[in-house]
Symmetry: C3
Amino acid sequence: MDNAAPLGKDLLGIKELKRDDILQILETASAFKEVLERDIKKVPTLRGKTMVNLFFEPSTRTRMSFELAGKRLSMDVINVSIQLSSVVKGETLLDTIRTMEAYGADIVVIRHSSSGVPHLLAGNVNASVINAGDGFNEHPTQALLDLFTIRRMKGRLEGLEVAIVGDIAHSRVARSNIYAMGKLGMNIRLVGPPTLIPAGIETLPGVKVFHRMEDGLAGADVVMQLRVQKERQDSWFFPTISEYAKLYILNSKRLALAKDDAIVMHPGPINRGIEISSDVADGTRSMILDQVANGLAVRMAVLYLLSGARA
Amino acid sequence: MDNAAPLGKDLLGIKELKRDDILQILETASAFKEVLERDIKKVPTLRGKTMVNLFFEPSTRTRMSFELAGKRLSMDVINVSIQLSSVVKGETLLDTIRTMEAYGADIVVIRHSSSGVPHLLAGNVNASVINAGDGFNEHPTQALLDLFTIRRMKGRLEGLEVAIVGDIAHSRVARSNIYAMGKLGMNIRLVGPPTLIPAGIETLPGVKVFHRMEDGLAGADVVMQLRVQKERQDSWFFPTISEYAKLYILNSKRLALAKDDAIVMHPGPINRGIEISSDVADGTRSMILDQVANGLAVRMAVLYLLSGARA
Amino acid sequence: MDNAAPLGKDLLGIKELKRDDILQILETASAFKEVLERDIKKVPTLRGKTMVNLFFEPSTRTRMSFELAGKRLSMDVINVSIQLSSVVKGETLLDTIRTMEAYGADIVVIRHSSSGVPHLLAGNVNASVINAGDGFNEHPTQALLDLFTIRRMKGRLEGLEVAIVGDIAHSRVARSNIYAMGKLGMNIRLVGPPTLIPAGIETLPGVKVFHRMEDGLAGADVVMQLRVQKERQDSWFFPTISEYAKLYILNSKRLALAKDDAIVMHPGPINRGIEISSDVADGTRSMILDQVANGLAVRMAVLYLLSGARA
C-alpha cells in the first residue's frame, strides 16, 4: 500500500496523505464550491466515468453525498448495498470488487464495518478506491470537509485550537481529523471520559487530552462534538447516556467558555439533548449544515483529483 | 402555512390551492403530455436541478412516477427510503430534510404515514416540498392526474357527476379529489357504508352521500373506485372483504347504471374481484392505465411550476 | 409467443432464437465492446428511452450489468425490486408490468423465480421484455455473453468441445447455453452426478452426458463450471457439498486433462474451493472477469437491437 505519490490512485485515509495533498484537495474543493453556487450545479467533467457506491454498512447521508457529487460531475453512479451476511470471506470481498472493476467502474466508494477493508481491496484492483468509513479506522472525506469548513470560516488552519468531544476511541471521524489536524499544525484537544480516549494518544502531534469539558473548551476556536452511537450502547464504555449527556453535552453555557467567535461542528446526524443542545445546534455559530453542503464540494474534488491521477 | 400565492414554493395539498392554480397545472401538464408522446421523451428544462424522493412509507408506483418525471426534465434524482423506526422525533425529521436541503436539493418529494408532516417540513426549509401522500390527509398529485384524465376524456370538468366509491374516511386520494372537484364546480357523490364515510362531509361544496351503490352510480359521468387496503384489514370498519365486495364492487352490471359514456377510474394498484371486476378494469371505458401515464405529465408540470416559483 | 422474426420485440430465451439472431447479437456486441474500451464509455444511442429493471428475485450482478448497459446507451434506468409476498396472483403481475408500460417503459428487464413469467408478460404488453432469469428455465443474456467470450478467445464457435459441469438440472445458465451451443454446432458435454442431470437430455442436438469429471474434461476447449447454490442446499440432490466438491471441483490437475489452450468459465459469483479452486479461478486461463466485462457489451447489443425492432 504505497500511497506516497501526490494523491495517487486511492483515498484510503488521511494517515497516508501528505500536508500538500490535503491542501491540494481543499483548493480544488473551493473551485467546486463555486460550481455548487451556480443555478445549474453541474459540470461535464467526468462524463462517461462510472462510480460504484459499495456500502456494506447502511448509510443514507454519506451515500447520498457521494452519489450527488458524482452526478454533478456527470458520472454514472450505481448504488450497491450488500448485507454482511452474504459476504463472509475476504476472498469473496475481493471477487466482489474485481467484478465492479470488470463492469468498468472507475471509482469504487466503499464503506465497511471492518477496519482496513478499503486498503486490502485497493491493493488488488486498478479502479480507484475511496474509503467512505472503515470500522473504527478512518473516514477521510469527513475530515477533509471539516477542514474545508474550518478554513472557510477562520481563514486559516495552522495554530487553531480545536476541541473534539466524545467517544474518541470508537470514532473514525475523530481519527481522521486527528491525523489531518496534526499534519496541518493545529492544536487538538481530545475531550471525554478516560474509558473513551485511547491510552497514549497524547503522543500524536498536536494532541492534548482533557476529561472535563470546561477545561477542554476554554479558549477553543472550534468545538467538534461527536455523535453518540446509541445503537452501540450495549457495548458502550459509559454507564448511561443521560449521565454522559450531563457531562459532555455542548450547550450555550459551555460554548461560552470557548472563544467569542468559536464555531460548532458535528458530523451528523445529531442527537439533540444528548451531545448537543438544540439552541446550539440551531444557533448562528453552528456549522452543521455547512459541513453537509461543503461535503459535496470536497467529494467532487476527491473524485476529480483521483480521476486525474488515473487518466 | 400560507400557500396563498399562485403555486408558491410547495405543493402540500389541494386544500391550499385556488381554482386557477389547479387549472394552471392542468394546462402545463397538457404541454408535457405532448413531450411524452414524442420519440425522445426528454427535455433539458430542469438540468442541474436536484430532486430527492424521501419516502417514509414504501411505495413503488408513486416513487417511480416522480423519479421518471424528474428524469424526463433532466433532473438529478436521489431516492431515499427511510424506515420509520430510525426517525422517532419531529426534530429529527426536520434535521433530515434540512440535510437534504444542504445537499442542494431543489425539490423534496415526501411521503409519510403521519398527516401534516410535509406541511411541517415545508415551513422550515427553502427547498420546495411536494406532498406525495401524508397519512389520511392528502395526495394532491393523484387528484391532479385524476382531473387531468377526466378533462381529456370529457372535454370539461364543471358540472360533471363523479361517484367516488369505497373507504372515503381513510383515503387521502378521496380527500384530495373532494377538495379539487369542489373548487372546480363538479358534483361529487361519495358512495360507501356509513362506517367508511366521515360524518358531516356532505356539508363540503358539491358533496352528496350515498350508501347504496346503485343510487350513487345512476347517471354518473365518472366512477372512481378506491382501493381496498387489505393490509389494514385488522383495523377495518367493515365485517369482511367479501361482504364489502358484494355491495361495492364495480362490475359491468352496475356500470350500466352510469351514463353510457361514463369512464372508470382507480388510483391503483387494483384488487381484481374486490373493488373492481376484471372485465370492467380491462374494458374500453377503464382509464386506469391512462391515469398512470397522465401522472407523469402532471408531475412534470408540478416540478416545472414549483421550479419556476423558486427561480 | 411467436418470436420467429429476426430479434423481435422481446428476448425471452435462446430457445426462441435462430442461429442468425444469435450471430447478429454477437456481431453487434463486438461493436459495443469497442465503445467500452474508449475513455468515455458512453454513447447517446438510446437517449430518452426508459428501461425498468423489475427484479422479483434479489440480484446485484445482473441488475448492475443491465443498469450500466442502459446508462452507457444514455437510457433512463429505473430499478424496481419487489418482494414476492406482495405479488400473489398472475393478474397482479400483469397489472404491474402494464403499469410499467404506462409509465412509458420502452424495455422491461425481468427476473422472476417462476419459469415462464417473462413469456406470459411479454405477450401482454407492447414494451420489450428481456428475460434476466426465470426459475429453472433460461437466462439468455448469460449464454450470449458466454458465447461472445468463447468466440473472442477461440476465434470460432462451431465444432468446439465445451464441458458444462455441475447441477445441470437446476441451472438456467446451463439450459440457455445448451440451446445456444446446439444451434451453433458446438459439442456439449454435460458433466455431473446422475441426480443433477435431467433424464433424456442427451437427445438434444450436440449433447453428451458424463458422470466422471475426468471423462468429460478430456480434450475440452472450454470448461464451464456452474455455481453451487449453497442457499438451496436443503433441497439439493447430493449428500454434502464437500463430497460434491471432491468429485467435481475444477482444480489445476483436472484442468490439465483439457486441451492445452482450454479456457475456464463461470457465471459467478464463484464459490472458491467448492466448484473451482483459487489457483484456477485466478489463473491466466480463467475468463471469469472477461465474462463480466463482456456481459455489458452483450446487454448493450440486446438493448440496441430490441429498440431498433420497436422503432
